[in-house]
Symmetry: C3
């Protein structure tokens, strides 16, 4: 259609000669692609997006050179994306609208970042994670694989604001953080845990535990939560939910049995 035709670079898009575009790349109307952006095959960049946004150094250094930004194969960045130079967006990643990603952010393949989310840079998000709308990820956050973060969650990083200390939050694999929870600087959210909506989490959350409240306290094991509808357990969610996950159609257990190595050789996934 007129503002975004698949496989085409829109004539109103401003694309640097120093950008590298793969085959069948789509760039929508009014986009700006700065120097040293690499967009892999089949990626779709929605209208009004800015890729390779320069960091603050651009405004003070006369011969500033943009760090490389890579957008992976088949990624779909909906309109209004702003992605800084110096980040890496994995293959098949999907964005909502008006997503802002600052420098030195690495987002793993197949992850999603919702409308209005604001990722402050210097952080890592593993593959297959799901950040919903309007999530705020502070610098130095370290988010694992298969993590779910719901709207208006904030991951902070300064234990005594304002200070020069930056202690990022660690979110281990398969954790779920519900709407409007705030995670304080330096906290570790254990794998397969569930942080309740509106919780204020000021200390580490054990694996597979449920925490709620302001400040958050442990309520139960996630295994104690039963579906109101069926009376059966619903957590850890990976045993009960498949949509969009690599185990879709076969179930988590079968799929995990096909994986030769742990998902991630990382302290987030501590051995059980």
């Amino acid at each position: 259609m007129d503002g975004l035709t698949l496989g085409k670079i829109h004539p109103t898009a401003i694309v640097s000669e120093k950008a590298v575009l793969g085959t069948s790349v789509t760039i929508g109307a009014h986009c700006i692609v700065y120097d040293n952006v690499e967009i892999a095959d089949g990626a779709v960049i929605g209208p009004n997006s800015i890729l390779g946004e320069p960091t603050a150094a651009y405004y003070r250094e006369e011969h500033h050179e943009n760090a490389a930004l890579r957008i992976g194969k088949g990624a779909l960045l909906r309109s209004g994306a702003i992605v800084y130079a110096g980040s890496r967006i994995g293959d098949a990643v999907e964005f909502g609208h008006r997503v802002t990603i600052r420098e030195r952010t690495e987002i793993g393949a197949h992850s999603r970042v919702g409308t209005l989310s604001d990722i402050q840079g210097y952080c890592t998000i593993g593959p297959y994670s799901r950040l919903h709308s309007n999530v705020h990820i502070g610098q130095k956050s370290d988010i694992g694989n298969f993590v779910w973060i719901f709207p208006y969650v904030v991951l902070t990083n300064d234990p005594q604001p304002p200070s020069s200390i930056l202690q990022g939050v660690v979110v281990e694999d398969f954790a779920v953080i519900a709407t409007q929870a705030v995670i304080m600087a330096g906290v570790r959210i254990g794998h397969d845990s569930l942080v309740g909506a509106s919780a204020l989490v000021n200390k580490d959350v054990e694996a597979e535990s449920v925490v709620v409240g302001v400040p958050a306290r442990k309520l139960a094991s996630v295994r104690d939560i039963k579906s109101v509808a069926t009376g059966e357990s619903v957590y850890p969610w990976r045993e009960h939910f498949e949509r969009g996950m690599p185990w879709e159609g076969m179930g988590y257990e079968v799929w995990a049995g096909t994986q030769r190595v742990p998902l991630r050789a990382h302290p987030r996934s501590a051995p059980e």
Copy 2:
């Protein structure tokens, strides 16, 4: 003025030949209007807006046809609106800036949606409702008439995230939800009730009641709330506030007496 001249289509706007424009429609600079968008007489579309944004199906179906989007008469959508194909925006609706409205959303006449609000689609908002800045409305939400929702409120829809269950929130007529409240999936907010700021509402709220806290508990009847200034009751608000409402200048009671049928034949407005 140069980016938005009333009654004109800006020369930089990209408007599909399959869009249908009424008389005296204004479209600002850099707008994109996709196929099958109908904009009624006198509507104003601010710069940088995208109307008829295609749904995800566009990216996988070769011969995708955009569902219709209708923007009502005299609507004012400020700059940066993104409205998906397949929604209906009523007459005289007013948006702040950077509003995002997904597919299958119906917004009643004279309602307002504030800056940065994010309506996730598959939901209904009755006429004369007021959504302030940065409100997040989950899919399947059902919002009545004359409802007020204040900044950073989130209406959720998944009772055991992540799951495939979608249980929208119901907000009955004349309800007020204050800043940063979170409403859990499937909750019903009774008519004329007041949800306090920062509340976490995990069960139904009775009509005309005030709830506060995390989790929210009933504090009083709204009729118990007195103005600090005058000592008089201030709720239900429809009896004390008129600005922008159809009873402006005559009072709610007189106006209601002129209405032959209930505002909405809907379980939200349960008979009293």
Copy 3:
């Protein structure tokens, strides 16, 4: 670079003949600068920004004239700024992306406003204040000098919503408001105080006190807070933090001794 070349007006920018530009002003691609905007020397306006956005009166008055908007020397407004006619942005102010500033807002020199922040107008922010991402400042707010406000904080203004009463929040100099706190209408936040994350503040906060919780209660004096790392006091922060402040390199005490008059002749800075 192609969308924003320092010192240049991008050819796709739409700039009113009634705008007044200083020397070495940068205006990025797709910007709109309406009538009566004055941009001082060396200011940088990122792509997709709208300056001098007309107020609601424009849509109903045939011969509407835009009120003046002034952008100070060396200001850096990152992409997607929307600033209304009738505001004043001080020298060396810095914005993140997609900041929205409504009419009659005055922002003091050297202040910063983060990505997605939404300032509703009719308010004042003193110099050297720091508003982080996604802060919502209600009309009639009065924010002092050297104030820190963290993500998703909301300053409200209606004590009995909806009403026609507007009671802005007052934030005195050097106060710190942490992530997702909500400040109720008419509350005064004392100088050098610290409002905890997720707090709901419904009454005045004494100078140098720490408040936390929903609703917020006084926990301690800020002087009781010790660094986990060093065991030493960290508040009032002005005695321990310098980055970007006018006392950088000399310390607050030395710098304050060089100031002949109080920072601000204002009730916010009550004599101690």
